[in-house]
Structure formats: C-alpha cells, structure tokens
C-alpha cells in the first residue's frame, strides 16, 4: 500500500469513530490520562467563540522608542488582556558614566558633565554640586551670586515644567498644549541664553558663585515674559485643566499613597501630590529661599490629577518667586575669590536642591586632590520612576502612559 492509500484509510477510520460517538470533548480523565477531543465531521476544533475571561498573559515592551516614553525609557509590561499584571523599567539606554568621568575631571570641569545629567534643569544640578564643593572648601558665596542662582533656578523650573506639561498632554492625546508650551519655553531659553550663553548646557553656576554678572537686558526680558505668563497659564488651563477627556484620563488614576511614596523615596511634586508637603527649599533651606515668600502646593489623593495640579501651581509660584527675585536683586559681587585649581581638603559633603523633579543631591568625596574621589548624584527621577513597579499593576495599559507621564522623568538623569 502506498502512503496516500494509508492516509485515506486512517481518515476513514477516524470518521467512523466520530460517527459512532458523536462529539467527545477532549480533556484529562480522572486517572490523569490525556484524551484527544473527537469532533464532528469537517471540524478542526470546537467553535467555542472568543474566551474573554481566561486570556494568556502577554509581555509587551513599551519603548525604548515609543513616543510617550520621554526619551529612551523602556518599560516591560506583563498584561492580562488590557490590564497590567506586573511592570518593570528597563533602563540604561542613556548611561554615559557621568559619575565615573567626574572622578577624572577637575572640579572646574565637572559642571559641563552635570548639565548633561538632567538636561532640562541644568542650573539645579550645577547648584547642588557647587554647594557641596563650597561646603568642603568653606567658601563664603556673595549674596548676589545666590540671588542670581535662585533667579535662574526658578526660570529653569518653569522651562522644565513646561516641557513636562506639553509631553504630559501628548501622552494623554492632546497635541495642542505641547505646541503652546514649547512656544513659551522658547522665551525662557532665550533668557537663559542671554545670561549664560547656552540654551540648555549652561555650565554657569560655578563653585564660589556664578560665571558672569547678569547682563542689563535680562530684567526687561524676564519682566516681559512674566507680564504674559498669567495669560499663558489660563491658556493651558483652557486646553487641559478643563478638558473633559483629560479629566477622565487623570482623575483617580495612578493613586500613590503617602506611605508608598515615602517607601520608594519619592520627592518633589510626585511626593507632594500624595499629600506629603516636603520641599528641600523649605525643609533644608539653601541660598536666599528663607528670605522669599512662597508656598508649597500639596495634593490630597495622590493621583495623576493631583500631581498635575501641584506642578501647575509650582509654575505659578515660580513666576511669583521670579518677580520677588528681580525686585530684590542686590548689587555686589557675583562670585567669591576662588583659587584657579580647587583642591578641597579630604572629606565629604552632601548638598541637595529642589529640582523640578525633586530632591537632587550631589555627594562629593574628596581625597585632597584636584579631582573628586567619588561623586554621586542622587537622581530624584530614578526614585520617582521606581514606584511604577508598585503602582502600575491593576491599571489599564493606556493608564501606564498617563502615570509615567505624571511622574515627570528625565532619562538623562536616571541613567547618568
């Protein structure tokens, strides 16, 4: 007999069985034996429809080139249908070894590396590093230098929050606010460029003070921006804060309790959104912040909406602080007398500032030479991001985008 005839015989025998017994569902017998299903003629499987309940878990790679991942974030999501079962951030796409490189640079050259850590708010990282070095060298920073630092820090805070606001809107699906935010941020970058000579990589705050005095055209530029900022804020409010779709996407989504926030080391607006009012500017005051009059906006529930409101309020306060800083700008030196080559005595110092993302600390350990023995950046965004392992499970995949957007991460700082 040839193969074809054999095969035809087998098929005929199978059909005969099926004819006799009708439909036999497959399964496992009580003895643990596997029984193959016997189906009616002409069918390959039982037409049971789509099982909507017992779906297989699926691992989805979100990023590193997804438009809503803010740079090169890569999140691994384990999904049951649309629901997230487990989440994990896969990082390191932007790791440049800034901490290791800093060990091979003189103190004066490190600012340029630190700008590239948190590339949206370079002034803050530079200030934290300058503070740590000043503590070790016991340099008295002139008052005016601190006023300039704080002025630029607040201008930089608004610029950074505007990027967050635009991209957060993009995450939710609102294209418009992004264009408005970047339009207004451009003015702030022009101000920063006038003062420091660079739009983002400033290298302007140096140990002992700042690089240059404020040029005379700075004040009118900032005042012009502030005169229109209220109008801009109401534009953003009209575009997002009152948008029904936006509200449905952020209210009650991504709730972080204060206990979770503290356990994962959240700082900044992500911590304050959970109702925990802790701000480095108030609790560990530096510079001239004790002399300024400002409030810390605090949320209540800890959902995306609270974090959104806190950041929006922070922008309004930053604008008010900028006005105060311009009004009170003293005369005097913009830098202390510092040696050309800095050699802090053996020892260490930790200095923290309130960056737009939270407590940004720089821990410098010196062995007495002209290069740091060890430099550690405390990246607020890394700790803020770590909370997704806890918060994302239980939400839908579309909410993951909203939650990560509300945490305001900058991958340059997370990966360093």
């Amino acid at each position: 007999m040839n193969d074809a005839a054999e095969r035809a015989e087998e098929v005929a025998a199978d059909s005969a069985v099926a004819d006799e017994v009708g439909h036999v569902p497959g399964g496992v017998t009580a003895e643990g034996e596997l029984v193959a299903p016997v189906l009616p003629k002409g069918l390959r499987r039982v037409p049971r429809g789509v099982d909507e309940v017992a779906t297989e878990h699926l691992v989805v790679n979100m990023g590193p080139q997804h438009p809503s991942t803010h740079g090169v974030l890569h999140i691994l999501l384990e999904l049951d249908g649309e629901e997230i079962i487990a989440a994990e951030a896969s990082l390191g796409y932007l790791h440049r070894g800034i901490e290791k490189l800093s060990e091979h640079r003189r103190y004066a050259h490190i600012g340029t590396l630190l700008d590239r850590a948190d590339y949206l708010s370079g002034i803050h990282t530079e200030t934290a590093f300058a503070m740590a070095v000043e503590r070790m060298l016991e340099i008295e920073v002139p008052e005016k230098a601190w006023w300039i630092r704080c002025l630029l820090a607040e201008v930089n805070r608004i610029a950074s929050h505007l990027v967050w606001l635009g991209t957060f809107g993009l995450d939710i699906g609102a294209m418009g606010p992004f264009l408005y935010c970047l339009r207004d941020r451009e003015q702030l970058l022009d101000i920063l460029e006038t003062v420091t000579g660079a739009r983002m990589m400033f290298n302007y705050v140096r140990p002992g003070g700042v690089l240059m005095d404020l040029p005379p055209e700075t004040e009118p530029m900032i005042r012009k921006f502030l005169s229109t900022f209220d109008k801009y804020m109401s534009e953003y409010d009209e575009l997002l804060s009152g948008n029904e779709i936006f509200l449905r996407r952020v209210k009650g989504i991504g709730i972080i309790s204060p206990e979770t926030a503290v356990a994962f080391g959240l700082t900044g607006a992500s911590l304050r959104g959970s109702g925990f009012g802790w701000d480095v500017r108030k609790e560990r005051p530096y510079g001239i912040y004790p002399e300024l009059d400002f409030d810390i906006p605090v949320g209540s529930v800890g959902d995306c909406w609270d974090r959104y409101v806190v950041r929006m309020e922070e922008m309004r306060w930053a604008a008010k602080l900028t006005t105060q800083l311009l009004d009170g700008m003293p005369a005097g030196d913009f830098t202390a007398k510092v040696p050309r080559v800095l050699r802090p005595p053996a020892g260490e110092a930790y200095a923290a500032v309130e960056s737009p993302r939270g407590e940004l600390g720089v821990h410098v350990i010196s062995d007495g030479s002209d290069k740091p023995y060890r430099l550690k950046i405390r990246p607020p965004a890394l700790y803020n991001l770590a909370v997704i392992d806890e918060v994302l499970p239980g939400y839908k995949i579309a909410d993951a985008v909203a939650i990560v957007g509300s945490l305001d991460i900058v991958l340059g700082e997370i990966d360093r």
């Binding site: 390191g92 070894g97 994962f264 080391g265 023995y373």
Partner: protein, 166 residues
C-alpha cells in the same frame, strides 16, 4: 537635623559591632557588613523612625567597597548615614524589605561596584549590559587616558604643566 549620638547608640544596642560617629557628612553609623539588614530594621523601627532611604551608593576605597545608606526621618527631621566596609567578594543582605527605595539603587550598585545583594527579588542589571566585563566604578576600572587616543601616524603629546583638560 543631626540625630543625637547617644540616642542612636541606644537604638543600635542590639547590633553587635555598630559604632555611631560624628564624621564625614554628619552622623555615621559604622556597622559590619553582615549586620546591615539588622541595623536597618532597628533604625526603621521604634526609637529610630527613619522612614525614607534617600540614597544608596558605594565608594571603592582601594581595599574594600564602602557602602553608604542615607536615611531620613521625616517626623524627627533627622538624617543619618549608615556605612559599611564590604570586602570585594562579599555579599550584603538586600534591605528592600525595609526600604523598597533600595530596589533600583541596589541593582545599580551591584553592577557598577560588584557587590552582591542576596535577597533582592529582581537582581538584574539596571544600567549596563552583560558584555561590559568589569565593574566600572571600581578604581581598577580605568577610563581612557590621553595616550589611549593614539592612532597610527598621530602623535599625542602630553600637555605641558599637567593635565588641565584631559
């Protein structure tokens, strides 16, 4: 801001080999590396109330890895540094069950300095890849020096008066 040394000594009375010193960036609890988890439990518990891990990092001292845990107590507004010398081939118990903030920084410390943290629920690499072949933040891991940039036919002259901008 600075915690009381005698009060901390009382909290750490059960941890053998723990010393509380005022040095470095503030108040430092120097503990043996196999007593770290015990120390964290004591500091997070009653009397310590340190509820947040601000940061975790290691320093290669040339003889061992000096690990630093920076803790903060919001209620008492205090900060303390827990430090421990870890030999190069030793293991330190993961403190994630006390401070979940350590989850990512322990992974980072493990790959950059070669300290292992048994008990970590997800001990993967965080920032680097498997092929890296060394622990970058150890002092033995060199970065490229001026001479390493030499190409055939290109002469790299050492800069006069030191290495101002290497």
């Amino acid at each position: 801001m600075l915690p009381d040394v005698t009060a901390l000594n009382r909290v750490l009375a059960g941890v053998s080999g723990a010393k509380v010193l005022e040095e470095g960036p503030g108040v430092v609890c120097r503990v043996p590396f196999d007593r770290v988890l015990e120390t964290m439990k004591a500091l997070a518990g009653e009397g310590g109330e340190f509820d947040m891990l601000v940061d975790l990092f290691g320093t290669d001292t040339g003889e061992a890895i000096d690990l630093t845990w920076h803790l903060r107590a919001f209620g008492k507004d205090q900060e303390v540094y827990v430090r421990s010398f870890v030999p190069y081939d030793a293991e330190v118990a993961s403190v994630w069950s006390v401070y979940p903030a350590a989850l990512y920084s322990e992974r980072e410390t493990a790959e950059l300095l070669g300290v292992r943290f048994p008990g970590h629920p997800n001990p993967k690499r965080l920032l680097t890849v498997d092929e890296i072949g060394s622990f970058p933040l150890r002092k033995s891991a060199a970065i490229r020096e001026r001479a390493d940039y030499a190409r055939p036919g290109v002469r790299v002259t050492p800069k006069e008066g030191g290495d101002a901008d290497e």
